[in-house]
């Protein structure tokens, strides 16, 4: 009896302790599968429409369909690990359309917010690895370049408007951007017009709102008269939950980096000086002070909190990008009331600054997948950017602006995208996405933690400076230690 108990206890302890060694698999990808099922009902309807469209004359894409049918016979499959949760359902829908048309199996999985790298890492180790995956820019590509097929002879590359949207390693085109996005401060035109019309307001029109001083004045006055306007605050909550903190540790942090790069005339750097950190503090302070919640509460605020505050008209300003449209639309705020302002941080000459435009979504085709799968994947992508179904889905349903020449007649109706076009036409200089050159995820996390501690008063601003400047150097050196 005793002996057995001892053996049982020992094997128990071995099992439990060793479970720690490998029990960390991430399973966030399961979500879209469930979503796919609920989508099934909507699917049949969409199919019917598509069949009609086909009958009318989808001749342009018939060649690619023939190729794809050959893929299906060769046993080629597509597995796309998607980065953007906002469009998860639409990708599944598009994949099913393709499968119905061609018989090629297309699986789409979407990693939950902030878990793409970890999901990709575990998915790539499987024998059924993604054939199509994404990197977020040059830094992401450095990790995955050994897994990227050369795309230079593909339709994808041939239809690309400019080489600016491709990432290269030597002569090889390793990955290609598929969506151009823009972010800034989204605002509610109706509420802002109420403010302009009020007798207590200093700034009287949107044209005067073109620098940090004006932005601060407007935000402070709205905050002081929030009950008159019927809002909870000028800005939505600056949530530091992982579903929202990237808006500050990555997107907002782009601005001081952009201006520093601009001063130095460079586009990446092993070290950062932090010349514009006081401006970073200034804008972050404004977000904290004139917000819907106390700064000490932001640790618990999520991305959904902020988007619902804005969508329900409880806040006037909301820092986010064109992708947020899907979450805002069909609520209190109508499309005509959506506008986007550049993020002014108080730099000389910022009256001419435009919105932040760029991409952190680059497609890569897995060169370790079987040849049949790679061909099937490339044909799928060609279909996505050339067929009516694919273009309609990307432009109209997902609301993407793409860098492909095939999309000239497909411009999204997303009002936030239109706001960006207006700024470009007015001759404002768009701010480039330099955050793709941030040395590592760890750097972003360090800045994010320091911002949170600063906001809730358990740390001070020097912590952010250290994480920003010293952290950059440490992380850059670690990443380039080879």
């Amino acid at each position: 009896m005793r002996k057995w108990r001892k053996i049982a206890a020992l094997s128990l302890s071995a099992a439990l302790a060793a479970g720690t060694l490998y029990g960390c698999g991430s399973s966030d990808t399961a979500e879209t599968e469930a979503a796919a099922e609920t989508e099934a009902a909507a699917e049949t309807e969409a199919e019917a429409q598509e069949a009609e469209a086909d009958a009318e004359g989808g001749e342009a894409s018939s060649d690619i369909l023939e190729l794809a049918k050959a893929d299906a016979e060769a046993g080629g499959k597509v597995y796309y690990l998607n980065f953007k949760p906002e469009q998860a359902d639409q990708w599944v829908e598009l994949a099913e359309t393709y499968t119905d048309l061609t018989g090629v199996q297309v699986d789409v999985q979407t990693a939950a917010s902030n878990t793409y790298e970890s999901t990709l890492k575990s998915e790539m180790a499987k024998s059924e690895a993604p054939t199509l995956f994404q990197v977020n820019g040059p830094v992401g590509l450095a990790t995955w370049k050994d897994y990227c097929r050369d795309l230079s002879d593909t339709e994808l590359y041939k239809n690309l408007k400019s080489d600016d949207y491709a990432l290269k390693d030597g002569d090889e085109v390793k990955s290609i951007a598929y969506v151009i996005e823009t972010y800034g401060i989204i605002y509610n035109k109706a509420l802002l017009n109420d403010y302009f019309a009020a007798d207590w307001s200093t700034v009287k029109s949107i044209d005067e709102l073109n620098n940090f001083e004006a932005l601060k004045t407007v935000a402070d006055e709205i905050q002081a008269h929030k009950d008159d306007l019927g809002v909870l605050g000028a800005f939505t909550s600056a949530g530091m939950d992982s579903s929202s903190d990237w808006r500050y540790k990555t997107h907002l942090a782009n601005l001081p980096i952009y201006y520093e790069y601009k001063d130095e005339g460079i586009d990446q750097s092993p070290a950062i000086k932090g010349t514009y950190l006081p401006n970073y503090k200034q804008i972050f302070d404004l977000y904290l002070a004139d917000a819907t919640c106390e700064p000490t509460e932001i640790g618990a605020k999520t991305g959904t909190d902020a988007s619902s505050e804005f969508a329900l008209g409880e806040a006037v300003f909301y820092q986010n990008g064109t992708w947020a449209y899907n979450d805002i639309k069909d609520n209190e705020v109508v499309d005509e009331d959506l506008g986007m302002l550049p993020i002014y941080i108080g730099v000389e000459g910022e009256e001419n600054q435009g919105l932040c435009t760029g991409s952190e979504n680059y497609w890569c085709v897995n060169n370790k997948a079987s040849e049949a799968d790679q061909t099937a994947t490339l044909n799928f992508l060609t279909w996505v950017i050339t067929s009516d179904e694919g273009r309609d889905m990307l432009a109209n349903q997902m609301g993407f602006v793409t860098p492909f020449t095939t999309f000239d007649e497909y411009l999204p109706a997303n009002p936030l995208v239109l706001a960006d076009e207006a700024y470009q036409e007015a001759g404002k200089t768009p701010v480039s996405w330099n955050f793709t050159t941030m040395p590592s995820e760890e750097w972003k996390n360090g800045v994010g933690s320091a911002l949170l501690e600063y906001a809730q008063g358990t740390g001070d601003w020097s912590g952010v400076e250290t994480a920003f400047v010293d952290g950059w150097k440490t992380e850059y050196d670690l990443a380039h230690a080879e």
Partner: protein, 280 residues
């Protein structure tokens, strides 16, 4: 008998053995091998020797997580076992509705850790909101939150084991002690506790390992915030492995160190408590 065992071995043992080898032994050995490698995906690794271990030990966050976890384990083991024993002791007395109480205490154990983490995050945050704070305000808050959560989750489970133990104490002992005029304190310390040592071994073992391995609740409740100061070991390993490119091997090395530490502690604990067991 032994002939029968031989005959039926493949039917009864082989599937389990196979599952054990595939699901446990192979990944375990692979894990140890990977801790000496540099890799991006686990199927594509390059041997680098001990450098991962050097980096793991030099990491101040790992050492912080180690001590933070040790403190966490000490507190939870004491609180959970004392509370579970006390409740079990109460519920084996003749109280009305003791079965209902047992079910109620056991129920939290049926909820998954990640959900519990989020539920408690909501609860604690809405209480802390009175003072305008959140659970991630300081690592102490996170610590208390996780202790509360784990206790709430595990006390019921340990209670069930203790109840079974209490009911197994032969009635003769109690009767004999009563006849000899033992008071209730003497009964508890001299009769009940010594007879309960097998249950105590199991419960303390389970609580120690559960405390060290706690992951989901930590991830959902604080996710290490603020600044990784509320990160327990398992989460630290996870974040090293998945959160940083080029650190997969270091994460694996940490996992091996973690395994050895937990195994040593569990064996020592087993020795200590089994020695106190008395043969009935």
């Amino acid at each position: 008998m032994s002939k029968n065992i031989k005959k039926y071995f493949p039917i009864f043992m082989l599937p389990t053995l196979l599952a054990f080898v595939i699901g446990f032994l192979v990944p375990f050995i692979m894990g140890i091998w990977l801790s000496f490698c540099k890799f991006t995906t686990v199927t594509d690794a390059k041997f680098v020797g001990l450098s991962n271990y050097r980096q793991a030990i030099a990491d101040p966050e790992f050492m912080h997580a180690f001590w933070y976890t040790t403190a966490f384990v000490i507190v939870t083991v004491i609180v959970i076992n004392v509370a579970a024993f006390a409740i079990a002791y109460m519920l084996t007395k003749k109280i009305n509705g003791s079965n209902i109480f047992r079910s109620v205490f056991f129920m939290p154990n049926l909820i998954g850790g990640i959900i519990l983490g989020w539920v408690w995050q909501l609860l604690l945050n809405s209480i802390l909101a009175i003072w305008g704070k959140t659970i991630v305000y300081s690592p102490t808050y996170g610590f208390i939150g996780m202790v509360l959560l784990l206790c709430w989750q595990q006390i019921g489970y340990m209670m069930v084991i203790y109840i079974a133990g209490l009911q197994n104490i032969p009635g003769d002992y109690i009767e004999a002690a009563k006849v000899d005029g033992a008071n209730s304190r003497q009964m508890l310390w001299r009769i009940i506790l010594p007879s309960m040592m097998p249950s105590i071994t199991i419960c303390s073992f389970l609580t120690i390992t559960n405390g060290f391995k706690m992951f989901d609740q930590n991830l959902a409740l604080t996710n290490g915030a603020p600044s990784k100061m509320s990160e327990l070991l398992a989460l630290n390993i996870f974040n090293t492995f998945y959160g940083r490119n080029g650190f997969e091997g270091v994460g694996q090395a940490k996992a091996v160190i973690f395994f050895i530490a937990v195994a040593v502690i569990a064996v020592i604990q087993n020795r200590l408590t089994t020695r106190k067991e008395v043969q009935a």
